[in-house]
Protein backbone atom coordinates (compact mmCIF):
# COMPACT_ATOMS: atom_id res chain seq x y z
CA UNK A 1 0.00 0.00 0.00
CA UNK A 2 1.05 3.51 -0.72
CA UNK A 3 1.99 5.54 2.31
CA UNK A 4 0.56 9.01 2.12
CA UNK A 5 0.48 10.71 5.49
CA UNK A 6 3.48 8.83 6.75
CA UNK A 7 5.51 8.75 3.62
CA UNK A 8 8.20 10.75 5.36
CA UNK A 9 7.91 8.79 8.56
CA UNK A 10 9.48 5.44 9.32
CA UNK A 11 10.67 3.87 12.51
CA UNK A 12 14.18 4.98 13.30
CA UNK A 13 14.10 7.75 10.72
CA UNK A 14 14.84 11.30 11.83
CA UNK A 15 12.07 13.87 11.71
CA UNK A 16 11.65 15.54 8.34
CA UNK A 17 13.10 19.02 8.06
CA UNK A 18 12.10 21.52 5.42
CA UNK A 19 14.74 20.41 2.95
CA UNK A 20 13.81 16.75 3.22
CA UNK A 21 10.14 17.63 3.06
CA UNK A 22 10.58 19.69 -0.07
CA UNK A 23 12.82 17.07 -1.59
CA UNK A 24 10.01 14.58 -1.29
CA UNK A 25 7.55 16.82 -3.12
CA UNK A 26 6.66 18.97 -0.14
CA UNK A 27 5.02 22.36 -0.72
CA UNK A 28 4.33 21.49 -4.34
CA UNK A 29 0.62 21.39 -3.55
CA UNK A 30 0.96 24.83 -2.05
CA UNK A 31 2.74 26.07 -5.16
CA UNK A 32 0.04 24.59 -7.30
CA UNK A 33 -2.75 26.20 -5.30
CA UNK A 34 -1.05 29.57 -5.18
CA UNK A 35 -0.40 29.65 -8.88
CA UNK A 36 -3.25 27.93 -10.64
CA UNK A 37 -6.06 27.29 -8.18
CA UNK A 38 -8.58 29.65 -6.62
CA UNK A 39 -9.87 28.97 -3.10
CA UNK A 40 -13.11 27.84 -4.73
CA UNK A 41 -11.23 25.32 -6.84
CA UNK A 42 -9.41 23.97 -3.83
CA UNK A 43 -12.57 23.72 -1.75
CA UNK A 44 -14.25 21.85 -4.58
CA UNK A 45 -11.48 19.26 -4.69
CA UNK A 46 -11.75 18.71 -0.95
CA UNK A 47 -15.52 18.38 -1.15
CA UNK A 48 -15.24 15.91 -3.99
CA UNK A 49 -12.66 13.87 -2.13
CA UNK A 50 -15.16 12.84 0.58
CA UNK A 51 -12.55 13.52 3.21
CA UNK A 52 -14.09 13.10 6.64
CA UNK A 53 -12.74 14.72 9.79
CA UNK A 54 -10.22 12.57 11.66
CA UNK A 55 -10.89 14.27 15.02
CA UNK A 56 -13.45 11.71 16.02
CA UNK A 57 -16.82 12.64 14.63
CA UNK A 58 -16.02 12.02 10.99
CA UNK A 59 -17.80 15.12 9.76
CA UNK A 60 -17.22 15.74 6.01
CA UNK A 61 -14.53 18.40 5.81
CA UNK A 62 -15.71 19.98 2.57
CA UNK A 63 -19.17 20.44 3.98
CA UNK A 64 -17.86 21.97 7.19
CA UNK A 65 -15.88 24.51 5.19
CA UNK A 66 -18.86 25.36 3.02
CA UNK A 67 -20.54 27.07 5.98
CA UNK A 68 -17.83 29.69 6.21
CA UNK A 69 -19.10 32.96 4.76
CA UNK A 70 -16.98 33.86 1.75
CA UNK A 71 -16.45 37.04 -0.20
CA UNK A 72 -19.17 39.66 0.18
CA UNK A 73 -21.17 37.39 2.43
CA UNK A 74 -18.53 37.82 5.09
CA UNK A 75 -18.43 40.96 7.20
CA UNK A 76 -15.02 42.60 7.19
CA UNK A 77 -12.51 41.23 9.67
CA UNK A 78 -10.34 38.23 10.35
CA UNK A 79 -11.16 34.62 9.66
CA UNK A 80 -9.39 31.87 11.52
CA UNK A 81 -8.20 28.37 10.90
CA UNK A 82 -7.39 26.34 13.97
CA UNK A 83 -5.65 23.02 14.04
CA UNK A 84 -6.93 20.84 16.84
CA UNK A 85 -3.80 19.15 18.14
CA UNK A 86 -5.07 18.64 21.66
CA UNK A 87 -5.08 14.85 21.42
CA UNK A 88 -6.12 13.96 24.94
CA UNK A 89 -8.63 11.24 24.21
CA UNK A 90 -7.38 8.24 26.19
CA UNK A 91 -5.74 5.68 23.96
CA UNK A 92 -5.08 8.13 21.13
CA UNK A 93 -1.55 8.69 19.84
CA UNK A 94 -1.68 9.47 16.17
CA UNK A 95 -1.44 13.27 15.92
CA UNK A 96 1.69 13.25 18.04
CA UNK A 97 3.40 11.11 15.44
CA UNK A 98 2.39 13.34 12.55
CA UNK A 99 3.58 16.48 14.28
CA UNK A 100 6.79 15.16 15.73
CA UNK A 101 8.03 13.53 12.58
CA UNK A 102 6.61 15.55 9.73
CA UNK A 103 5.65 19.01 10.97
CA UNK A 104 5.74 20.56 7.50
CA UNK A 105 3.03 18.28 6.20
CA UNK A 106 0.66 19.72 8.80
CA UNK A 107 1.77 23.26 8.10
CA UNK A 108 1.31 22.88 4.38
CA UNK A 109 -2.13 21.39 5.00
CA UNK A 110 -3.01 24.31 7.20
CA UNK A 111 -1.87 26.94 4.72
CA UNK A 112 -3.94 25.30 2.03
CA UNK A 113 -6.97 24.96 4.27
CA UNK A 114 -6.69 28.54 5.42
CA UNK A 115 -6.50 29.56 1.77
CA UNK A 116 -9.67 27.59 1.04
CA UNK A 117 -11.72 29.42 3.64
CA UNK A 118 -9.99 32.78 3.30
CA UNK A 119 -8.49 32.73 6.77
CA UNK A 120 -5.68 35.15 7.50
CA UNK A 121 -4.68 33.93 10.95
CA UNK A 122 -4.18 30.35 11.99
CA UNK A 123 -3.37 28.57 15.21
CA UNK A 124 -2.05 25.18 16.10
CA UNK A 125 -3.73 24.45 19.41
CA UNK A 126 -1.51 21.75 20.80
CA UNK A 127 -1.49 20.06 24.15
CA UNK A 128 1.21 21.43 26.40
CA UNK A 129 2.75 18.06 27.15
CA UNK A 130 3.77 17.65 23.51
CA UNK A 131 7.01 19.51 24.10
CA UNK A 132 8.90 17.91 21.25
CA UNK A 133 6.15 18.52 18.73
CA UNK A 134 5.83 22.12 19.89
CA UNK A 135 9.53 22.67 19.42
CA UNK A 136 9.60 21.10 15.97
CA UNK A 137 6.50 22.92 14.81
CA UNK A 138 7.93 26.22 15.94
CA UNK A 139 11.16 25.57 14.12
CA UNK A 140 9.25 24.52 11.02
CA UNK A 141 7.15 27.68 11.15
CA UNK A 142 10.28 29.81 11.23
CA UNK A 143 11.54 28.01 8.13
CA UNK A 144 8.22 28.60 6.40
CA UNK A 145 8.24 32.29 7.10
CA UNK A 146 11.79 32.39 5.79
CA UNK A 147 10.77 30.65 2.58
CA UNK A 148 7.71 32.83 2.03
CA UNK A 149 5.25 29.99 2.61
CA UNK A 150 3.80 32.06 5.41
CA UNK A 151 3.46 35.76 6.00
CA UNK A 152 2.56 38.46 3.53
CA UNK A 153 2.05 37.61 -0.12
CA UNK A 154 2.65 33.88 0.01
CA UNK A 155 4.63 32.72 -3.02
CA UNK A 156 3.69 35.94 -4.78
CA UNK A 157 0.01 35.08 -4.78
CA UNK A 158 -1.09 38.08 -2.77
CA UNK A 159 -2.52 35.74 -0.15
CA UNK A 160 -1.31 36.32 3.37
CA UNK A 161 -1.45 34.14 6.43
CA UNK A 162 0.09 34.12 9.85
CA UNK A 163 0.41 30.96 11.90
CA UNK A 164 1.03 30.51 15.61
CA UNK A 165 1.61 27.57 17.88
CA UNK A 166 -0.52 27.79 20.99
CA UNK A 167 0.34 25.23 23.65
CA UNK A 168 -2.64 24.40 25.81
CA UNK A 169 -2.64 24.61 29.58
CA UNK A 170 -4.12 21.16 29.70
CA UNK A 171 -7.66 19.93 29.81
CA UNK A 172 -9.35 17.26 27.77
CA UNK A 173 -12.34 19.49 27.11
CA UNK A 174 -10.10 21.85 25.13
CA UNK A 175 -10.29 19.29 22.36
CA UNK A 176 -13.98 20.06 21.94
CA UNK A 177 -13.86 22.67 19.22
CA UNK A 178 -15.88 25.42 20.89
CA UNK A 179 -14.16 24.90 24.23
CA UNK A 180 -10.92 25.10 22.33
CA UNK A 181 -11.98 28.47 20.98
CA UNK A 182 -12.68 29.72 24.48
CA UNK A 183 -9.28 28.45 25.55
CA UNK A 184 -7.67 30.31 22.67
CA UNK A 185 -9.48 33.43 23.81
CA UNK A 186 -7.81 33.02 27.18
CA UNK A 187 -11.00 32.01 28.92
CA UNK A 188 -12.22 29.03 30.85
CA UNK A 189 -12.69 26.29 28.30
CA UNK A 190 -16.40 25.70 28.68
CA UNK A 191 -17.90 24.60 25.39
CA UNK A 192 -20.19 27.02 23.64
CA UNK A 193 -23.76 26.44 22.61
CA UNK A 194 -24.31 25.61 18.96
CA UNK A 195 -25.75 27.29 16.96
CA UNK A 196 -24.08 29.62 16.24
CA UNK A 197 -21.47 27.31 14.77
CA UNK A 198 -17.85 28.39 14.83
CA UNK A 199 -17.91 28.55 11.04
CA UNK A 200 -19.91 31.76 11.41
CA UNK A 201 -19.09 32.93 14.93
CA UNK A 202 -16.01 31.36 16.42
CA UNK A 203 -12.76 32.78 17.68
CA UNK A 204 -13.34 36.40 18.79
CA UNK A 205 -16.79 36.11 17.25
CA UNK A 206 -15.32 35.65 13.77
CA UNK A 207 -15.71 32.75 11.28
CA UNK A 208 -13.46 29.90 12.37
CA UNK A 209 -12.71 26.40 11.21
CA UNK A 210 -11.35 23.83 13.60
CA UNK A 211 -9.87 20.69 12.10
CA UNK A 212 -7.93 17.79 13.45
CA UNK A 213 -4.21 17.38 12.71
CA UNK A 214 -4.68 14.28 10.63
CA UNK A 215 -7.53 15.83 8.65
CA UNK A 216 -5.31 18.76 7.76
CA UNK A 217 -2.37 16.54 6.86
CA UNK A 218 -4.50 15.02 4.12
CA UNK A 219 -5.13 18.33 2.40
CA UNK A 220 -1.84 18.79 0.49
CA UNK A 221 -2.08 15.32 -0.97
CA UNK A 222 -5.64 15.75 -2.11
CA UNK A 223 -4.88 19.13 -3.69
CA UNK A 224 -1.81 17.65 -5.28
CA UNK A 225 -3.29 14.45 -6.61
CA UNK A 226 -6.98 15.01 -6.85
CA UNK A 227 -10.21 13.76 -5.37
CA UNK A 228 -10.46 10.58 -7.35
CA UNK A 229 -7.01 9.43 -6.38
CA UNK A 230 -7.93 10.04 -2.75
CA UNK A 231 -11.20 8.17 -2.97
CA UNK A 232 -9.38 5.29 -4.54
CA UNK A 233 -7.16 4.87 -1.51
CA UNK A 234 -9.87 3.47 0.74
CA UNK A 235 -10.71 -0.21 0.53
CA UNK A 236 -14.20 0.21 1.99
CA UNK A 237 -16.80 2.95 1.92
CA UNK A 238 -14.62 5.78 3.11
CA UNK A 239 -11.97 7.65 1.23
CA UNK A 240 -8.26 7.91 1.91
CA UNK A 241 -5.95 6.32 4.37
CA UNK A 242 -6.07 6.55 8.12
CA UNK A 243 -3.68 6.26 10.99
CA UNK A 244 -4.84 3.28 12.99
CA UNK A 245 -3.36 2.48 16.34
CA UNK A 246 -3.50 -0.33 18.83
CA UNK A 247 -2.66 -0.19 22.51
CA UNK A 248 -3.21 -2.61 25.33
CA UNK A 249 -1.63 -5.97 25.90
CA UNK A 250 -0.86 -6.90 22.32
CA UNK A 251 2.49 -8.09 21.04
CA UNK A 252 3.29 -5.07 18.99
CA UNK A 253 1.39 -1.97 20.00
CA UNK A 254 1.75 0.92 17.57
CA UNK A 255 0.32 3.16 14.92
CA UNK A 256 0.15 2.44 11.19
CA UNK A 257 -1.18 4.17 8.13
CA UNK A 258 -3.61 1.87 6.37
CA UNK A 259 -6.40 2.28 3.89
CA UNK A 260 -9.77 3.32 5.22
CA UNK A 261 -11.85 0.22 5.56
CA UNK A 262 -9.03 -2.07 6.66
CA UNK A 263 -10.51 -4.77 8.87
CA UNK A 264 -10.09 -4.78 12.62
CA UNK A 265 -8.61 -8.26 12.40
CA UNK A 266 -5.94 -7.18 9.98
CA UNK A 267 -4.96 -4.24 12.16
CA UNK A 268 -4.94 -6.32 15.30
CA UNK A 269 -3.35 -9.49 14.01
CA UNK A 270 -1.12 -8.41 11.13
CA UNK A 271 0.08 -5.12 12.45
CA UNK A 272 -0.23 -5.31 16.21
CA UNK A 273 0.92 -8.88 16.23
CA UNK A 274 -2.08 -10.29 18.08
CA UNK A 275 -2.53 -10.67 21.81
CA UNK A 276 0.39 -11.19 24.12
CA UNK A 277 0.99 -14.79 25.01
CA UNK A 278 -1.48 -16.23 27.43
CA UNK A 279 -4.05 -13.53 26.83
CA UNK A 280 -7.28 -13.65 24.90
CA UNK A 281 -9.06 -10.76 23.27
CA UNK A 282 -12.12 -9.88 25.27
CA UNK A 283 -13.19 -6.62 23.71
CA UNK A 284 -11.89 -3.41 22.26
CA UNK A 285 -12.70 0.25 22.02
CA UNK A 286 -12.31 0.96 18.31
CA UNK A 287 -11.41 4.62 18.42
CA UNK A 288 -10.38 5.92 21.81
CA UNK A 289 -11.79 6.08 25.31
CA UNK A 290 -15.14 7.56 24.36
CA UNK A 291 -16.24 4.82 21.97
CA UNK A 292 -18.35 1.75 22.70
CA UNK A 293 -16.78 -1.65 23.25
CA UNK A 294 -16.89 -4.14 20.45
CA UNK A 295 -15.97 -7.80 20.88
CA UNK A 296 -14.38 -10.72 19.08
CA UNK A 297 -17.58 -10.95 17.06
CA UNK A 298 -16.67 -7.69 15.38
CA UNK A 299 -13.14 -8.57 14.32
CA UNK A 300 -13.99 -8.75 10.67
CA UNK A 301 -15.63 -5.36 10.48
CA UNK A 302 -14.06 -2.77 8.23
CA UNK A 303 -12.81 0.34 9.98
CA UNK A 304 -15.21 2.66 8.20
CA UNK A 305 -17.33 5.28 9.90
CA UNK A 306 -20.68 3.77 8.97
CA UNK A 307 -19.71 0.15 9.45
CA UNK A 308 -18.44 0.70 12.96
CA UNK A 309 -21.41 2.94 13.62
CA UNK A 310 -23.84 0.23 12.61
CA UNK A 311 -22.13 -2.23 14.90
CA UNK A 312 -23.00 0.07 17.79
CA UNK A 313 -19.78 1.91 18.29
CA UNK A 314 -17.87 4.73 16.68
CA UNK A 315 -14.73 4.85 14.62
CA UNK A 316 -13.65 7.80 16.76
CA UNK A 317 -9.96 8.47 16.35
CA UNK A 318 -9.24 5.01 14.92
CA UNK A 319 -6.87 4.15 17.75
CA UNK A 320 -8.05 0.97 19.42
CA UNK A 321 -7.70 0.04 23.03
CA UNK A 322 -7.65 -3.68 23.60
CA UNK A 323 -9.24 -5.35 26.59
CA UNK A 324 -7.81 -8.76 27.32
CA UNK A 325 -9.37 -11.50 29.35
CA UNK A 326 -7.13 -10.98 32.38
CA UNK A 327 -7.95 -7.31 32.69
CA UNK A 328 -11.00 -6.29 34.65
CA UNK A 329 -13.60 -4.61 32.45
CA UNK A 330 -15.12 -2.88 35.48
CA UNK A 331 -11.74 -1.51 36.41
CA UNK A 332 -11.18 -0.35 32.87
CA UNK A 333 -14.49 1.43 32.69
CA UNK A 334 -13.88 2.92 36.11
CA UNK A 335 -10.53 4.22 34.91
CA UNK A 336 -12.24 5.87 31.96
CA UNK A 337 -15.12 7.34 33.92
CA UNK A 338 -12.68 8.67 36.47
CA UNK A 339 -10.87 10.42 33.65
CA UNK A 340 -14.03 11.88 32.16
CA UNK A 341 -15.39 12.98 35.52
CA UNK A 342 -12.15 14.75 36.25
CA UNK A 343 -11.99 16.33 32.83
CA UNK A 344 -15.58 17.58 32.87
CA UNK A 345 -15.50 21.31 32.48
CA UNK A 346 -18.08 21.67 35.22
CA UNK A 347 -20.56 23.60 33.16
CA UNK A 348 -23.58 21.37 32.88
CA UNK A 349 -25.20 19.29 35.57
CA UNK A 350 -25.43 15.77 34.15
CA UNK A 351 -21.73 15.73 33.36
CA UNK A 352 -20.37 17.70 36.31
CA UNK A 353 -22.34 15.85 38.96
CA UNK A 354 -23.57 12.81 37.08
CA UNK A 355 -20.16 11.43 36.10
CA UNK A 356 -18.81 11.53 39.67
CA UNK A 357 -21.94 9.71 40.70
CA UNK A 358 -21.27 6.98 38.13
CA UNK A 359 -17.66 6.92 39.29
CA UNK A 360 -18.76 6.38 42.85
CA UNK A 361 -21.06 3.50 41.91
CA UNK A 362 -18.30 1.89 39.85
CA UNK A 363 -15.82 2.33 42.67
CA UNK A 364 -18.20 0.56 44.99
CA UNK A 365 -18.62 -2.31 42.57
CA UNK A 366 -14.94 -2.61 41.79
CA UNK A 367 -14.04 -2.58 45.46
CA UNK A 368 -16.54 -5.22 46.48
CA UNK A 369 -19.08 -2.87 47.96
CA UNK A 370 -21.50 -3.09 45.07
CA UNK A 371 -25.19 -3.73 45.49
CA UNK A 372 -27.56 -5.37 43.05
CA UNK A 373 -29.43 -2.11 42.52
CA UNK A 374 -26.20 -0.48 41.44
CA UNK A 375 -26.57 -1.90 37.98
CA UNK A 376 -29.98 -0.29 37.69
CA UNK A 377 -28.50 2.96 38.87
CA UNK A 378 -25.82 2.70 36.21
CA UNK A 379 -28.45 2.03 33.54
CA UNK A 380 -30.35 5.02 34.79
CA UNK A 381 -27.25 7.18 34.60
CA UNK A 382 -26.50 5.99 31.10
CA UNK A 383 -29.94 7.07 30.00
CA UNK A 384 -29.60 10.35 31.82
CA UNK A 385 -26.06 11.32 30.85
CA UNK A 386 -25.47 9.28 27.76
CA UNK A 387 -27.69 10.85 25.13
CA UNK A 388 -26.41 13.62 22.91
CA UNK A 389 -28.47 16.68 23.74
CA UNK A 390 -28.93 15.79 27.37
CA UNK A 391 -25.68 17.55 28.09
CA UNK A 392 -24.23 20.76 26.78
CA UNK A 393 -21.47 19.05 24.80
CA UNK A 394 -20.45 15.60 23.69
CA UNK A 395 -18.00 14.86 26.50
CA UNK A 396 -20.46 13.22 28.83
CA UNK A 397 -22.27 11.10 26.27
CA UNK A 398 -18.83 9.97 25.07
CA UNK A 399 -17.92 9.08 28.62
CA UNK A 400 -20.94 6.83 28.87
CA UNK A 401 -20.16 4.83 25.74
CA UNK A 402 -17.65 2.37 27.24
CA UNK A 403 -19.86 1.97 30.30
CA UNK A 404 -23.04 1.27 28.41
CA UNK A 405 -21.38 -1.27 26.12
CA UNK A 406 -19.50 -2.90 28.97
CA UNK A 407 -22.82 -3.45 30.70
CA UNK A 408 -24.10 -4.93 27.49
CA UNK A 409 -21.20 -7.26 26.79
CA UNK A 410 -19.60 -7.86 30.17
CA UNK A 411 -22.58 -7.70 32.47
CA UNK A 412 -21.55 -10.94 34.17
CA UNK A 413 -18.32 -9.35 35.20
CA UNK A 414 -20.23 -6.62 36.98
CA UNK A 415 -22.47 -9.20 38.59
CA UNK A 416 -19.51 -11.28 39.77
CA UNK A 417 -18.01 -8.25 41.41
CA UNK A 418 -21.25 -7.70 43.27
CA UNK A 419 -22.01 -11.25 44.23
CA UNK A 420 -18.41 -12.10 45.08
CA UNK A 421 -17.92 -8.79 46.93
CA UNK A 422 -14.55 -8.38 45.28
CA UNK A 423 -12.90 -7.88 41.93
CA UNK A 424 -12.41 -11.39 40.56
CA UNK A 425 -9.48 -10.27 38.42
CA UNK A 426 -7.31 -9.15 41.26
CA UNK A 427 -6.86 -12.64 42.61
CA UNK A 428 -5.99 -13.86 39.12
CA UNK A 429 -3.12 -11.46 39.07
CA UNK A 430 -4.46 -9.11 36.43
CA UNK A 431 -4.37 -5.37 36.78
Amino acid sequence: MEKVLTRNISPGKAPTDIAAYEANGGYSALRKAMTVMSPDDCRQVISDSNLRGRGGAGFPTGMKWSFVPMGDKCSPGHKYLVCNADEMEPGTFKDRLLMEFDPHQLIEGMILSAYCIGADISYIFIRGEYVVAIERLRAALADCYARGYLGENILGSGYKLEMHVHPSAGRYICGEETALINALEGKRANPRAKPPFPQVSGLWGRPTIVNNVETLCNIPHIIDRGADWFKGLGVGEDAGTKLFGVSGRVKNPGCWELPMGTSVREILEDHAGGMQDGLQLKGFLPGGGSTDFLTRDHLDLAMDYNVIGKAGSRMGTGTMIILDDKTCPVGMVLNLIRFFAHESCGFCTPCRDGLPWSRQVLEDIENGRGKKEDLDTLEYQIKYIGAIGNTHCALAPGAMEPLQSALKYFREDFEHHISGRACPYRSVGGS
Partner: protein, 172 residues
Protein backbone atom coordinates in the same frame (compact mmCIF):
# COMPACT_ATOMS: atom_id res chain seq x y z
CA UNK B 1 -15.22 55.23 43.43
CA UNK B 2 -15.28 51.81 44.81
CA UNK B 3 -16.84 51.02 48.10
CA UNK B 4 -13.68 49.37 49.29
CA UNK B 5 -10.52 51.19 50.05
CA UNK B 6 -8.63 51.25 46.83
CA UNK B 7 -5.08 51.05 47.92
CA UNK B 8 -2.94 48.93 45.68
CA UNK B 9 0.12 46.87 46.33
CA UNK B 10 2.81 47.87 43.93
CA UNK B 11 2.31 45.07 41.47
CA UNK B 12 4.35 46.73 38.78
CA UNK B 13 7.59 45.29 39.97
CA UNK B 14 6.52 41.69 40.44
CA UNK B 15 7.10 40.47 36.90
CA UNK B 16 10.52 40.62 35.32
CA UNK B 17 11.18 42.65 32.21
CA UNK B 18 11.82 39.43 30.28
CA UNK B 19 8.49 38.02 31.35
CA UNK B 20 6.70 41.21 30.42
CA UNK B 21 8.40 41.34 27.05
CA UNK B 22 7.41 37.76 26.35
CA UNK B 23 3.82 38.44 27.31
CA UNK B 24 3.72 41.54 25.14
CA UNK B 25 5.07 39.53 22.26
CA UNK B 26 2.07 37.21 22.52
CA UNK B 27 -0.23 40.21 22.58
CA UNK B 28 0.85 41.17 19.10
CA UNK B 29 -1.51 38.75 17.45
CA UNK B 30 -4.30 38.82 20.01
CA UNK B 31 -7.04 41.41 19.66
CA UNK B 32 -7.83 41.62 23.39
CA UNK B 33 -5.33 41.73 26.19
CA UNK B 34 -7.19 39.17 28.24
CA UNK B 35 -6.75 36.80 25.32
CA UNK B 36 -3.15 36.30 26.35
CA UNK B 37 -4.04 35.17 29.84
CA UNK B 38 -3.09 31.55 29.43
CA UNK B 39 0.10 32.40 27.57
CA UNK B 40 1.03 34.83 30.30
CA UNK B 41 0.38 32.33 33.06
CA UNK B 42 2.54 29.80 31.25
CA UNK B 43 5.32 32.29 30.64
CA UNK B 44 5.48 33.20 34.29
CA UNK B 45 5.23 29.59 35.33
CA UNK B 46 8.01 28.52 33.01
CA UNK B 47 10.50 30.67 34.83
CA UNK B 48 9.17 30.26 38.35
CA UNK B 49 7.69 26.79 38.37
CA UNK B 50 4.32 27.97 39.59
CA UNK B 51 2.06 31.01 39.71
CA UNK B 52 1.90 32.73 43.07
CA UNK B 53 -0.93 35.04 44.15
CA UNK B 54 1.29 37.99 43.62
CA UNK B 55 2.23 36.93 40.12
CA UNK B 56 -1.35 36.24 39.31
CA UNK B 57 -2.32 39.71 40.43
CA UNK B 58 0.52 41.26 38.49
CA UNK B 59 -0.41 39.40 35.32
CA UNK B 60 -4.05 40.36 35.78
CA UNK B 61 -3.06 43.98 36.12
CA UNK B 62 -0.85 43.85 33.06
CA UNK B 63 -3.61 42.28 31.01
CA UNK B 64 -6.26 44.64 32.42
CA UNK B 65 -8.25 41.79 33.87
CA UNK B 66 -9.51 41.34 37.38
CA UNK B 67 -7.70 38.86 39.58
CA UNK B 68 -10.94 36.91 39.80
CA UNK B 69 -11.17 36.55 36.06
CA UNK B 70 -7.60 35.35 35.80
CA UNK B 71 -8.00 33.08 38.81
CA UNK B 72 -10.96 31.50 37.07
CA UNK B 73 -8.73 30.75 34.11
CA UNK B 74 -5.71 29.66 36.11
CA UNK B 75 -7.63 27.20 38.23
CA UNK B 76 -9.46 25.72 35.28
CA UNK B 77 -6.43 24.18 33.66
CA UNK B 78 -4.44 21.18 34.81
CA UNK B 79 -1.03 22.50 33.89
CA UNK B 80 -1.17 25.84 35.67
CA UNK B 81 0.15 25.33 39.15
CA UNK B 82 -1.23 27.62 41.80
CA UNK B 83 0.88 26.01 44.48
CA UNK B 84 4.63 25.59 44.53
CA UNK B 85 6.00 22.52 42.79
CA UNK B 86 9.39 20.85 42.95
CA UNK B 87 12.22 21.38 40.50
CA UNK B 88 10.81 18.63 38.32
CA UNK B 89 7.19 17.85 37.84
CA UNK B 90 6.52 14.18 37.26
CA UNK B 91 3.39 13.83 35.16
CA UNK B 92 2.36 10.27 35.60
CA UNK B 93 -0.09 8.92 33.05
CA UNK B 94 -2.89 7.03 34.76
CA UNK B 95 -5.20 6.71 31.77
CA UNK B 96 -6.60 3.60 30.27
CA UNK B 97 -3.80 2.06 28.19
CA UNK B 98 -1.23 2.69 30.86
CA UNK B 99 -3.62 1.27 33.41
CA UNK B 100 -4.06 -1.91 31.39
CA UNK B 101 -0.30 -2.12 31.33
CA UNK B 102 -0.03 -1.94 35.06
CA UNK B 103 0.57 1.69 35.82
CA UNK B 104 -1.01 1.38 39.25
CA UNK B 105 1.93 -0.77 40.36
CA UNK B 106 4.45 1.60 38.84
CA UNK B 107 2.80 4.50 40.61
CA UNK B 108 3.16 2.60 43.88
CA UNK B 109 6.86 2.06 43.14
CA UNK B 110 7.39 5.75 42.50
CA UNK B 111 5.49 6.74 45.58
CA UNK B 112 7.58 4.35 47.62
CA UNK B 113 10.76 5.54 46.08
CA UNK B 114 10.07 9.25 46.41
CA UNK B 115 7.98 9.06 49.51
CA UNK B 116 5.24 11.17 47.99
CA UNK B 117 1.72 10.66 46.77
CA UNK B 118 -0.09 12.56 44.02
CA UNK B 119 0.03 16.28 44.61
CA UNK B 120 3.02 16.08 46.91
CA UNK B 121 6.60 17.28 46.59
CA UNK B 122 9.64 15.45 47.84
CA UNK B 123 11.22 17.01 50.87
CA UNK B 124 14.31 17.98 48.89
CA UNK B 125 12.02 19.78 46.47
CA UNK B 126 13.32 17.70 43.58
CA UNK B 127 10.05 16.16 42.41
CA UNK B 128 6.36 16.81 42.48
CA UNK B 129 4.21 13.88 41.49
CA UNK B 130 1.03 14.59 39.57
CA UNK B 131 -1.35 12.40 37.60
CA UNK B 132 -1.91 13.36 33.99
CA UNK B 133 -4.53 12.29 31.48
CA UNK B 134 -3.38 10.07 28.61
CA UNK B 135 -0.05 11.32 27.31
CA UNK B 136 -0.65 10.09 23.77
CA UNK B 137 2.05 7.44 23.93
CA UNK B 138 -0.21 4.49 24.62
CA UNK B 139 1.80 2.21 22.37
CA UNK B 140 4.71 2.65 24.75
CA UNK B 141 2.72 2.33 27.99
CA UNK B 142 3.15 2.82 30.84
CA UNK B 143 4.60 6.30 30.46
CA UNK B 144 5.26 9.47 32.34
CA UNK B 145 6.92 12.81 31.85
CA UNK B 146 9.72 14.00 34.04
CA UNK B 147 10.05 17.67 33.35
CA UNK B 148 10.01 17.92 29.57
CA UNK B 149 11.13 14.37 28.97
CA UNK B 150 8.81 11.55 28.06
CA UNK B 151 9.79 8.29 29.69
CA UNK B 152 8.19 5.20 28.21
CA UNK B 153 7.90 1.47 28.93
CA UNK B 154 8.09 2.10 32.64
CA UNK B 155 9.10 -0.77 34.85
CA UNK B 156 11.06 -1.19 38.04
CA UNK B 157 14.31 -0.80 36.19
CA UNK B 158 13.46 2.50 34.50
CA UNK B 159 12.09 3.86 37.74
CA UNK B 160 15.28 2.89 39.54
CA UNK B 161 17.46 4.55 36.92
CA UNK B 162 15.50 7.73 36.69
CA UNK B 163 15.22 8.24 40.41
CA UNK B 164 18.62 6.75 41.04
CA UNK B 165 19.52 9.30 43.66
CA UNK B 166 16.44 8.46 45.67
CA UNK B 167 16.21 5.72 48.22
CA UNK B 168 12.96 4.17 49.20
CA UNK B 169 11.05 6.76 51.18
CA UNK B 170 14.27 8.35 52.40
CA UNK B 171 14.41 12.03 53.15
CA UNK B 172 17.38 13.75 51.64
Amino acid sequence: MSNSQMIQTDLNSVLTLEELAEIDHELEHIPYKSGASIDALKIVQSSRGWVSDECLQAIAKHLEMSSEELEGVATFYNLIYRRPVGDNVVLFCDSVSCWINGCDDIKEMISQKLGVDYGETTSDNAYTLLPVPCLGACDRAPVMMVGDDLVTHLDRETIDTIFANKESGSET
